[in-house]
Amino acid sequence: MAEIPFTAALNRAMAEEMKQDERVVVLGEDVRAGFFGATSGLVDIFGPERVLNTPIWESGIAGMALGLAVTGLRPVAELMFADFFYLAADEIANQMASWHYVTGGQTPVPIVVRTAAGGGFAIGYNHSQCTEASFLNPPGLKIVAPSTAHDAYGLLKSAIRDDNPVLFIEHKLLYGVPGEVPDEEYLIPLGEAAVRREGKDVTVLAWSTMVGKALQASEELEKQGVSVEVIDARTLVPLDEATLLASVAKTGRLVTVEEGRKRGGVGAEIAATVMEKAFGSLKAPVVRVAAPNIPVPSGPAAEAMHVPSVPSIIGGVRTALA
């Protein structure tokens, strides 16, 4: 089994799917060169007709992807930064999300929209956001946010084979992180969370980069005698409620951790769901660890304060236990 970087896992997933299904095409800004490296080299294997460089054109990339999908193709579109989802929001939230429904399933919408999310590079409020929470609301989308190279590979392959539009959130800080990816092909179904660490006192639900921080926090807490169960949501829509609720039934406490902003965040939706479905299990209010409701600051020091950290997760767990 080889350790390969997150981007290489994505690259392998796309290359395999393109090889197995000639309807799979890749499009986006600079995808031939591969701005973050995930699509690099695909054009050499599959040619310019299946790896389409587009100009700077976010709503057009999304709209064009929908046009391609209508003809039977399976586009993997790249929007360079998750912040730019807002530039393409009409096509994503109004159009591609709805088409399976409004055509009664007559028009499958097998589109993956990949994007790079999150901070860590101090590149400002238009290049550093986690915007996935904004897309929980429009019906018809799926949202995936892997935390490891292993999951990135298996989830992207499932996303490409899905007949509904999938927003595939890749954190910039994960791109270079290596992980074990088995040589044999595998898929990870959308909608299945992974329990990363078993515990009995409190459940921490995280995804993307926050899984690693939650695991670090749980190691610290273990030294302090607190047993933390860490769940990697992996897919936010559809959410694996069964795994989450089973864990909450066991621990009676839940902390959600996200890099995105707190108000209207993913944690708010999860907290409401747990309150509706497992209120009797809760021994304490759900705690949300998230970014404050301010734009992502540009300065490195300010940005680091903005993003939830291991200490802030520990603080959240302490609050849940209080």
Binding site: P55, S59, M64, A69, V102, P139, G140, D162, E241
Partner: protein
């Protein structure tokens, strides 16, 4: 350093038929008398349907819809120029285009009646559903066009929109990249001069929509949109160019929205009556009828026969529309995802239980 002229451009306008129905023989497209009669029949049917739909709406039997009165030549002539395999990517004021492309028109009424299942068009029809955000669909047309080009299919995409849509960013994006990708697309602007209450002069400072094509690197032409022969001719030529790999074209059909914006609007509040009167003299259906009378293709008997046929078809369409059963409640949940998610299943079950239909 001298100042040199970088570019000079001209924008053409084509008219084939005058107000009395006389045609320019050199520009007249090659249409058989049967085809002319067919075009006339579709235009009559579209107008009768439009009138009946208005009555249905006023009676509460149909939802708000966008009338096509006065624009029959523009969107019917254009669709008539399409060939088998071509794609139609419409906005929402193209009822007659659907008829030309063989869509069961009762589906269109079903859509305006508030049932999305009205967008279930026959498999392989290559007609996209009604699109109301005015410009969004133009981007889809570019994607479809590009895909057709990669597949080496010698087909074209016709996308239709209004003058109001040219203010949307989507128009710019679609035009720009259709030209960059040399997508086999024809952009047909039905310039009906009013976007609800906003007149053409408040939509753009440009003298024509057609000239906007120049900046994108594609040909643009204005056509008398109330002259069905001119529209047919110009769009046919543009579709031919697209199929031959010569790239996209912008066609501005200069026409007029004789009716209100939709049935929720009252244009008398903001439009001068003399303007409507000016365009009434240019009525596309009457113009075609004048031509046909001159050519001996239409007399009172044939006119009455065409009208009777249209009425019978409208009766059939309305009956078929009203016979569609209301979709069962669980249908609301059935088609959002290819496979229903657990959360959605729970919401469906909750609704069914509330309706007393739970299992």
């Amino acid at each position: 350093m001298p100042v040199t002229n970088l570019m000079t451009f001209n924008v053409s306008r084509m008219e084939v038929m005058d107000l009395d129905g006389n045609v320019d023989a050199g520009l007249m497209p090659d249409l058989s008398p049967e085809q002319v009669a067919e075009l006339y029949g579709i235009m009559v049917l579209t107008r009768r349907l439009d009138e009946r739909m208005l009555k249905l709406q006023r009676q509460g039997r149909l939802g708000t819809f966008a009338r096509v009165l006065g624009q029959e030549a523009a969107h019917i002539g254009a669709a008539y120029a399409m060939r088998e395999g071509d794609w139609l990517v419409p906005a929402f004021r193209e009822t007659g285009s659907f008829i030309v492309r063989g869509i069961p028109v009762e589906r269109v009424l079903q859509y305006w009646g508030g049932d999305e299942w009205g967008q279930h068009f026959p498999e392989g029809s290559r007609v996209l559903p009604v699109s109301v955000p005015v410009g969004t669909h133009m981007l889809h047309a570019v994607g479809i066009g590009w895909a057709m080009k990669q597949d080496r299919e010698r087909v074209a995409v016709l996308t239709v929109f209004g003058d109001g849509a040219t203010s949307e960013g989507d128009f710019h994006e679609a035009m720009n990249f259709a030209a960059v990708f040399q997508a086999p697309a024809v952009f047909l602007c039905q310039n009906n001069h009013w976007a609800i209450s906003v007149p053409y002069g408040r939509q753009t400072a440009a003298a024509s929509i057609a000239q906007k094509a120049i900046a994108y690197g594609m040909p643009g032409i204005q056509v008398d949109g109330n002259d069905v022969f001119a529209v047919y001719r110009v769009v046919r030529d543009a579709l031919d160019r697209a199929r031959n790999g010569e790239g996209p074209t912008l066609v501005e059909a200069h026409t007029y929205r004789m009716a209100d914006h939709t049935t929720s609007d009252d244009a008398r509040k903001y439009r001068p009556p003399e303007e409507t009167a000016y365009w009434q003299e240019r009525d596309p259906l009457e113009r075609l009828a004048r031509y046909m009378r001159r050519k001996g293709l239409l007399d009172e008997a044939r006119e009455a026969e065409t009208l009777a046929r249209a009425e019978a078809e409208v009766d059939r369409v309305v009956a078929a529309y009203e016979a569609f059963p209301a979709p069962p409640p669980d249908d609301l949940f059935a088609h959002l995802y290819a496979e229903m998610t657990p959360a959605l299943r729970a919401q469906r079950d909750a609704l069914l239980a509330a309706l007393g239909e739970g299992e």
